[in-house]
Every structure is written in structure tokens, then in C-alpha cells.
Amino acid sequence: MSSSGSRALEAWLVLVGMLAGTAWYAWPQLGHTIQLLRSLIQLLFPFALE
């Protein structure tokens, strides 16, 4: 594989790692964030969730 090809592969590998890392971090923090978003919508648009 050429040098630029291997660099491209390396870039995609690190990106896959970043995607996996983000997915790993999502639990349980994503749940808290969604809960917060719901509260915010309630605050800003109280009629939306009535």
C-alpha cells in the first residue's frame, strides 16, 4: 500500500475509534442529556408537552 493510502486507512481507523468512543461514552450521559432537553422544551414551550 502506498504511503498516502496507508495514511488514509489510518485516518479512517482513528475515525472509527472516535465513533466507537463516542458511542461508549453515550451511556448513561445521553439519557441525562435527553432528559435535560425535555425539561428545556417544557420550560420554553410549556404548551408543547401538556
Binding site: 495514511r7 488514509a8 489510518e10 485516518a11 479512517w12 482513528v14 475515525l15 475509534g17 472516535m18 465513533l19 466507537a20 468512543g21 463516542t22 458511542a23 461508549w24 461514552y25 451511556w27 448513561p28 450521559q29 445521553l30 441525562h32 442529556t33 435535560l36 432537553l37 425539561s39 428545556l40 417544557q42 420550560l43
Partner: protein, 646 residues
Amino acid sequence: MVLGFVAWSVAGAFVLAVSYLAARALRTDRPSLNALIFIFLTILVPTAFLMLAGLAGILRPWLLAAIGAAGLAAILVVARTRRELCEMRAGAGGAWALARSWWASLPLGLRWLTAIALALSAARFTFLVLALPPFTWDSLTYHLTNVAEWIQRGRITTFDTPVDRIWSPANYEVFAVWFVLFLKHDVIIEVAGLPAYLLACAAVYAIGRTLSLGRGASLLAALAYASTPALLLATTATKNDPIMAALFLMMLALGLDLAVRSEVEPGRDRAGQVVVLAAAWLLALGTKPYVIHLTVGLVVAWVLAYLAAGRRAGWRTLPGALLLRLRGNPQGFRWAAGALLTGALLLGSYWYLRNWAVTGNPFYPYGLAVEGAEVIASAEKATPFDLTNFLANLRSFLERFGDKQQRIMPDLPYTTGWGWVAYGLGLPALVWGTVRRWSVRLLLAGFAAALLVLFFSSPDSPWNMRYAIWFPALMALAIGSAFEGLFSGRRWPSLAFGALFVAASGANFLMMLNYNAFSPAAFQAMLSLPARERESADLESKVPEEYRLALEIVTSDDRMGYNVHGNGFLYPLYRADYSQHLVYVPIPQGSTCAGIADAIEARGTRYLFVAPEHTEDWILSLLNQCATEKDVLRERVRGLYVVKRQ
């Protein structure tokens, strides 16, 4: 309040002028380091100014304004400083042109990301500062209790209270006085953390530049660190950890530059950089003693950087450059370096010397125990320094790694607070950088050394990761490095990376909109009040109702007695405008109701405030019993007792 603004403006103009003149005299040949030096001086100069005024007992707005006016006049009378101030306009023009060319050199996507991040951050900070009064445990217990008491007394001093932690080094608290003294109100006290936040993010950028990252990659690293939840939470939560993180990162940047760079622009040297480095260390020492631990990490990173640079660094010429500058005194170098180091020495040593002189222990109320043997006796608890503690901290850290135990909250209970960017993007980037980049390896070694030394002596508690909010800067710099080395210039990888970065930093931002700690109802309750009436005592989710009830009964004209334990909240009782005067009423074991009443009256009040969880349970029971007997004490409202003689 308008007059307060006028006094603040005069004192502020003086402080800014001194900071500018000192920054001019101490500047180096790197714009990013010069920016750090200027921001640092705008923190140190007002802190030293207030410290001197506080020790002299003249902590009054108009006195400080008068000193500021006299100082400004003196600056304008001296021909050299007048000329330098006059040159400020031209200097500002040059800086603006430099900033514009810097901005134009950045990739378009990064410019958009930066602009949006700046706008959203400014809106978030403004909203949180104005919407909520101080609320964190440390602040309500001791940080801001010091601020309130000093403002009432016009003097920096200790006072009679069971909260021993008011004796801790307090440079952050002195700086916080700057934001409340002139307004005599705490409405914007949370702003005191913003200069530290700015300094920390600028330091990450400067580290990136020093380690040969490009402008774009360094800015990306700074943005990544700026989104760290633990840092965002602490910045406007009136805590002193952001300034510690900022000073650690700033010292790292200044020292790395000395370690790796040999060439200096003609006509410039780095003598000022060394002076600022020493002053930053002293400011940190007078803020939190754990800068001593962090210094190990700094030295490791500097030495490795020096070795990696292949002994090309020009630091050997530094002593000569310093001497030359001291002799030649260009731009008042002698004056600036001397004044800066004197101020920093005062700020770094005062708290320890005072505690040593008064109590015999420079670290009062803490002691020190090495491998279980008490080296310095403590009033509260001994700071351990042993392997058992190290292992306990390491285990706790591994349990907290990834923030799996609970949501991230301001005191960081059972979490690291490093957030989506540091974990999601930062860890893979760190693995890549450790393999591919010497700069990331040396940073990893320095950061890890600092963290591990901290683990040796930070007591293992659910909240102790707040001492390590500088750590995600490592992941942020690894992200910058990976961006430059892997993604920049490749269309699809850079787009995919950009999307992930926006999603992760956006998730960090969203999580921190309400500090992850306040319900919409709490915000609604606060926003329904005018800004000047938003009191800590009104925050029912954080402060027991007894505080609010007591302030509804006792007027500001009356002194209020209180009895809380060493971890009890005090700050809410002072009121947001510091108009409520307090006095501690000790209640020893075996006290009688009549004895308590006598003790209250002997301190010039009729009132005694107590609160569940903030006062010892046996005192609450005793007072309840006294109130039932209705002999000399009555319970006026829950938590407030009044002496009533028959």
C-alpha cells in the same frame, strides 16, 4: 450602584494600565505567549491590588477608586509610562491587524465553528451568571464566606467561625472581591471564573503552537478543551479549580517554549517569560497548595521536551539575558519584574505565613501524614501522603473513568467531568498520538506524572477529580494533533471528523446548560425575581428552606447569631448585598437553655439560626427542647430561635 460602577471603572482603568505596562515590559516574541501573559496579568494585578488594600484595611470602593486615580495620574506624570500608554492605541491597531490576519489564515469551517462556539458560550455564561446566585457547596461554606466577611469589615482577616476552611489559601477569593466590592452585591460574582477560563483555553492554544501544531489544529484543541463539562461547570460556579487549571496549562506553555525553542527574534529575549512563570507558580501556590504536586508533571514534560528537542533549546542563555535586561532596564523591565515578583511573593506566601504565625501550622486547618505518621498536626483532617491512599485514588479513578456512575454535576461526585469530546474523540486521538507524535508522548508523560503524584496525597473522596480538570487538555491537544496529521486536507475524513466534533462538543454544551443540576422550575423561580433579588438563600434545591425563612424575619439592622458545624453553609445568611451581619454562637456540650440564651445575648443579638444537616443533630434536639419549654427561647420560624425573657 451607578456610583459603584464609576468607582469600579476608575480602579479598573488603573489596573488595566498597570497590566498593559507590565505586559509590555515582560513580553516575549511569540504572540500566543504574549496573549497569555496579558490575560495572566489582568488576574494577578487586581488580586495583588486588593490584597494590599485588604491587609491595610481599606477595602472600600471609593478609597480604591481614589488610589486608582492617583496611580493613573502618576503613570501619566512619568514621561516613559505616559509615552507607552500613548502608544497603546498604535499597539492596539497592530494587535487588531495581527488578529485579522490570524483569523483569515484559518480554514473556513473552523472559523464558523469558532464564531458559533463563541456566540453560544457568551450567551450561556451571561444567562447563568445573571439567572442563578452562587450555589456550590465549597462556595456557600467557605470560599464566599470569606468574601462576604472581608467586604463587611473592609479588611482581609480571619474571624470567629466553626468553618475552619476559611483559613485555606484564598487568592481566588481575593480576586472574586473585585466583582462584588464596587457593586456591593453578588449579582455578577460568577464572572470571577471567566478570566481563568479564557487563560486556560488560550494556554491550550499556546501549547499547541509551541509543539509545532498549526494555527487551525491549536485552535481546535483550545475549542475541544473549552467544551469540557468539568471546566464549564466550575468556571461560573465560584470555584478556584479553573484558575489552578489555567495556571498549570499556562506554566506548561511557557516552560515548553523555553525547553524546545532555540531561536529568538532579533532584539527580543525570553527573560520576561521566566519572570511570569515564577509569578504564576506563586499565584497558584496561594490559591491551592496542590500546585506543588502539579509541578512534578510540569518538570517531567519540560525535561522530556528539552531532550526531544535535541539540546537545541536556548535556555542556557536565559541567565545572561535576564542580567542584561536587569542592567539595561528596557521598557521598565526592572520595575515590572520587581513589582510582579513582589506581588506574587505576597500572594503566594501570605496565607501560609499567617497560618503558621497564628496557629503554628502553615497548612491549617489541614495537617500532613506520611505513611500514616502525622508530620504536621491537623485541626480538621490530615492530608495523607502514602501508597494506600494512592491505590485508593487509583481505584476510584478507574471507577469514575468514562463518567459511568452518574450524571456530571458541579461538585463532580463520582465522575471525572471530562465529557464527550475528551472521551469520545480524545482517547482514540491520544492512542494515535502516543504512537505517532513525540509531542503527544511528552505531554502524556507530564500529565500522567502530575495526576499520579496528586493521587498520592489527595484524600480519596467522591469529589476529588475537580483537582484534575486540567487533564482533558491532553486529549484536546491530541485531537488537534490528529486533526492536523490525519484529517486536514482529506475531504471525507475531515468532514466525518467535523461532524463528530460538532456532535460531541454540542452534547457537552447541552449537558451544561443547567449545570446538570437545576430543574426548569428552579430557573423559573429565580427568573421571576429581579436580578438584584436573586439570593442563594432562595435556591431551595440547594439551600435548606430555613435560610430563607430566617432572612424573612431578621432584618439587616439586626445582627444574626448562628450555629453551624464545620461543613455548614454560611454565605446565604449574608444576603446578596452583604447587608446582614452575623455572629457565631458556640454551644458546648452540656449547655442549658438559659446558658444558650445568655451566650446569644452576650454576642449582641436575640436571634440564633440553625439548620438540619448544617448544625449538629444534638444541638437541634436541645434547641427544640428549649423551645418546647418556652422558658427563655422560642422558635420564631423553623430554624430561627429568639431569646424571650419573661
